[in-house]
């Protein structure tokens, strides 16, 4: 289902270059956001005119963590990025090692299964008794979030972008769950299409041209309507989405950006909050100081969203969505992942402990254009009560509260 993944990454993410879009302050660091230098043939194919009402919106039709996998000229994985190999110690393996039954020992439920669940739901940052294999390579997709080129940073696979911040990739890149062909990725599209909560939308307003416009406003929303597939089985462009302005206010965030040669880039903005629902659970996740780099056409959007993923929220969303049963198939051990996410977290230090609470990351996204229907002002302004704690307005405070 995701066989195009690497091809898409090469096509879209590999073109990013630092073009000095803008500078913003983040913990004293300056940030440069890249924009593509060259227009693709597809972009040249549509008229350089303003979209109707100077507005265009896209519903997300694909969204997954940006994970680079090295391949040879025949497209076969070389796994150069995982010099130590892939993680072999997933949930099942760790359980078997922790509670061996070879000598006929009978473990009590409380000291085995329940204890393991406790490790997942009440994780800690202490040493991991199991080996964990991180990405060792130097190449990655993503954005240079802080404008710096550090030792821990990555370079884009085409070598054009230095200083890519994506420590989340370093953490998960050698876990089968996050790599091509994993059951987790196979379900991504199915859930995105089939679950109504997963209706993330990005709207561009004040657009004079989809090819070049130095000042556009970008707003994210959650939509209320299903995605529609066309006669070929692709997601249809031009469907209609109603904005969830009642229960979806947390998803409404505004960014400023510009379009250069058909590529939208935004300045570091507020949180990018997205809905994530699988077969049993719905959750929300967010990345801080988020920014977009999206290739645009009148009917399609494709690119990357970079930012600092809030570790607590992201981790809890993940374990809510996937039980031990599911993550076992991808050699993912939740407790171990938590430790490494916290260890590699590289931004937003907790004011009390000084430990970083967010980790640089990137999402690979695709979208189809939609006609967005905004609710009446009366509905939009309605007080809908308490916001979900995990997506509180002050995400830092939310992180602290969870500890």
């Amino acid at each position: 289902m995701k066989t195009q993944r690497s091809v898409l990454r090469k096509a879209w993410l590999g073109s990013a270059v630092i073009a000095g879009f803008g500078v913003a302050a983040l913990g004293g660091a300056s940030i440069a956001v890249g924009a593509s230098e060259t227009a693709t043939a597809e972009h040249a194919a549509f008229p350089d005119v303003a979209p109707p009402d100077r507005t265009i919106a896209y519903a997300f039709t694909e969204r997954m963590e940006a994970v680079y996998q090295a391949k040879d000229k025949d497209g076969k994985e070389t796994r150069e990025e995982c010099a130590n190999g892939l993680n072999e110690s997933g949930a099942r393996e760790q359980f078997a090692e922790s509670f061996p039954q070879t000598d006929g020992k009978k473990w009590k439920l409380a000291e085995s299964h329940v204890a393991r669940e406790a490790e997942i739901w009440f994780p800690n940052t202490g040493p991991d008794k199991f080996p964990f294999k991180e990405v060792t390579g130097k190449l990655s997709y993503g954005l240079n979030l802080d404008g710096k080129v550090k030792a821990s940073d990555f370079t884009s696979p085409d070598g054009k972008v230095q200083g890519i911040d994506n420590q989340f990739y370093r953490a998960v890149g050698c876990i089968a769950s996050y790599r091509e062909g994993s059951s987790q990725l196979l379900f991504y599209e199915e859930y995105l299409e089939g679950k109504q909560f997963n209706r993330n939308i990005v709207e561009l307003t004040d657009v004079d041209s989809l090819q070049n416009d130095d000042d556009v406003t970008v707003t994210t929303y959650r939509g209320l309507d299903p995605l529609v597939k066309d006669a070929k089985g692709d997601f249809a462009a031009n469907a209609t989405q109603r904005v969830d302005a009642v229960f979806g206010k947390d998803f409404i965030q505004t960014f400023k950006g510009r379009i250069v040669n058909g590529v939208l880039t935004t300045a570091p903005g507020p949180d990018f909050v997205w809905a994530n629902e699988n077969h049993t659970d719905a959750s929300t996740e967010f990345m801080r100081a988020a920014r977009f780099e999206l290739h645009l056409t009148p009917e399609r959007m494709e690119g990357v969203i970079g930012g600092y993923l809030d570790v607590e929220t992201g981790y809890r969303a993940m374990i809510k969505r996937y039980g031990t049963h599911q993550i076992s198939y991808g050699k993912l051990a939740a407790g171990s992942l938590y430790k490494v996410l916290r260890r590699l977290a590289d931004a937003y230090p907790d004011p009390v402990t000084g430990e970083n609470t967010a980790i640089s990351s990137a999402l690979e996204v695709k979208g189809a254009s939609v006609h967005l229907v905004h609710p009446d002002k009366k509905v939009a302004d309605a007080d809908t009560g308490t916001r979900p704690k995990q997506v509180a307005a002050n995400s830092e405070q939310a992180t602290i509260e969870k500890r």
Partner: protein, 556 residues
């Protein structure tokens, strides 16, 4: 459920004075049609069953397709045959319907009585139920012995099966298979107003009225009217027609008529190449059909508007699926929608139903669209292409020829083809701003589209101009009149009906081309109810001829 729609219609209080009264002396003595032996259409059968037993009785019927005769499918109901396979279909449906009617969920409401013992026969209760059913379903009341026979058979079956309702089910199934239910056998009788001439009998007239205006068999109230002979009294007949025109069931009848006239049944088998038209989603053809029918009902019934405005109005209805094709916002469900002027969508010819139906699966067709426009909308006959025509210029074109106009220009260099393409293409090319699925476009393969054209000497530059030319064409309303009369009488319009058609045209025009006055004029006219011998009713097709000696290619 069994409430008479006539009464409902009367309660709506449509002003009778706004309708034209029948033209008393306008009809020559030999005006009329042949008496018909008609098959019920699928939808007429479904409506008949559901109006009586309730809409929750599922009737998954699909009868054999009809033959379009002189431009009207309904005319094909009187020339259709019944095959073994069709009888098998009837039996299957009869079984399904009768089983539902007697099941535990429905018997409480559909039976007027309860058997004393539901484990055996109960002739009294069976008589009450079956009398109501037979009275409603048979187009002509059967002799009394038939009722007794049915009750007795229900009794025998109940005793054998130890179940009163099972006995009823067996007989109900046979009732639903009875030719007097599935076929409309029109009967004639001497017409005392015109000695020496014949007219349809009361039940046959009731059937024509109901099938025409409601697309269903007469309801109990109309049967009662027929029973009393009220339809032979011009004033009482007018009141009945007014009531029927005011009934909500008129919408069903009008939808069926325009579905027939515009050839929308083609949407049931319409498909497009998904790689060329990915936005022609599954189910969209049915929604396109529905969009056109909703537009018709809104304009002609709810607004009581001018028929000609159907070809210029930007107002329609939109669904989410159609919104994708049209590229517009569309909220869930069906919503009223008005295309903005810049959308270049004005009139039903610019709706997906007409555009997609009259195209190929991978490309648009100016010729098919022009042909459909001539034949369906203007009642003109476009001859089929000659057998030896060379289609290569359009089917395997020079890639340098990017637009349909360029390809057809080349095709028309063949003199065999040229003449008739002049009939269809000037109109069809005005619709080239819409691709084969009906999506708007400004160019074809990068070449700008020239949508200019002409209709019978009136030139225009775009599709809005075509719509206006149609609106202003004197042929447009006369075609509707002709089709309506043919549909109403389920047959080819005889030449002897010309005086009646002339009267209908006059009434239609004087009433602002509104539909209800036309329907009333037709149903109150002697031409609707009189019977003439076949020899006096030549089946000459009277489609307006296009004075051109050559045949037209229907394929490009």
């Amino acid at each position: 459920m069994l409430a008479a729609a006539l009464l409902v219609g009367s309660a709506l209080g449509v002003s009778h004075s706004t309708f034209a009264e029948p033209a008393k002396d306008a009809v020559a003595a030999d005006v009329g049609t042949s008496k018909r032996l008609r098959l019920l259409t699928t939808q007429q059968y479904v409506n008949t069953i559901q109006y009586f037993f309730g809409a929750d009785i599922k009737v998954d019927a699909k009868f054999a397709p009809l033959t379009r005769t002189d431009g009207v499918l309904m005319a094909g109901t009187s020339v259709a045959g019944v095959s073994d396979a069709q009888i098998e279909t009837y039996q299957k449906i009869a079984n399904i319907v009768s089983t539902q009617v007697v099941d535990a969920r429905h018997r409480e409401t559909l039976f007027p009585c309860k058997p004393l013992d539901d484990k055996t026969a109960d002739n009294a209760c069976a008589t009450k139920f079956l009398t109501r059913v037979i009275d409603y379903l048979y187009f002509i009341p059967p002799p009394k012995e038939h009722y007794v026979k049915m009750v007795n058979e229900a009794g025998v079956a109940a005793k054998r099966l130890n179940d009163f309702y099972a006995g009823i089910q067996v007989v109900l199934e046979s009732v639903l298979l009875n030719p007097d239910v599935l076929l409309v056998v029109e009967s004639e009788e001497p017409d005392p107003r015109h000695p020496g001439h014949m007219r349809l009998d009361s039940y046959s007239q009731a059937s024509r009225l109901s099938l025409f205006l409601w697309n269903a068999a007469p309801d109990p109230a109309l049967r009662a009217v027929a029973n009393r002979g009220d339809l032979f009294d011009s004033k009482k007949r007018a009141r009945v027609v007014d009531s029927m025109l005011a009934s909500p069931r008129l919408e069903t009848g009008v939808r069926a008529f325009f579905d027939d006239m515009f050839g929308l049944e083609g949407t049931e088998t319409l498909s497009k190449d998904a790689t060329v038209y990915p936005y022609f989603l599954g189910g969209i053809a049915a929604e396109a059909r529905e969009q056109t029918l909703r537009t018709v009902v809104d304009q002609l019934l709810k607004r009581d508007g001018d028929y000609r405005d159907l070809f210029t109005s930007r107002e329609t209805f939109m669904s989410p699926t159609l919104g994708i094709l049209y590229g517009v916002k569309a909220l869930p469900g069906w919503r009223a929608y008005e295309f903005p002027p810049e959308a270049h969508r004005a009139g039903i010819l610019t709706q997906a139903s007409f555009l997609a139906l009259n195209s190929h699966s991978t490309r648009s067709s100016a010729t098919l669209r022009g042909k459909a426009l001539r034949e369906l909308i203007l009642c003109q006959k476009v001859p089929p292409p000659p057998a030896n025509v060379d289609f290569s210029a359009v089917e395997n074109p020079d890639p340098k020829l990017k637009t349909a106009r360029q390809r057809l220009d080349l095709h028309r260099q063949n003199p065999v083809c040229a003449g008739c393409h002049k009939i269809t293409d000037p109109m069809g090319l005005a619709l080239e701003n819409f691709d084969g699925a009906g999506r708007y476009r400004t160019d074809e393969k990068g070449a700008p589209i020239d949508a200019s054209g002409s209709l019978d000497g009136k030139a225009f530059t775009d599709v809005e101009g075509l719509g206006q030319a149609l609106h202003d064409s004197p042929i447009l309303p006369t075609c509707l009149v002709r089709r309506a009369f043919s549909y109403a009488t389920a047959g080819v319009v005889p030449m002897s009906a010309d005086p009646a058609l002339a009267q209908f045209n006059k009434t239609f025009a004087s009433e602002g081309y509104r539909l209800r006055p036309l329907l009333k004029a037709i149903t109150l006219n002697d031409a609707f109810s009189k019977v003439i011998e076949p020899s006096a009713a030549p089946a000459a097709e009277k489609s307006a001829s296009i004075p051109h000696p050559e045949k037209v290619a229907s394929n490009p």
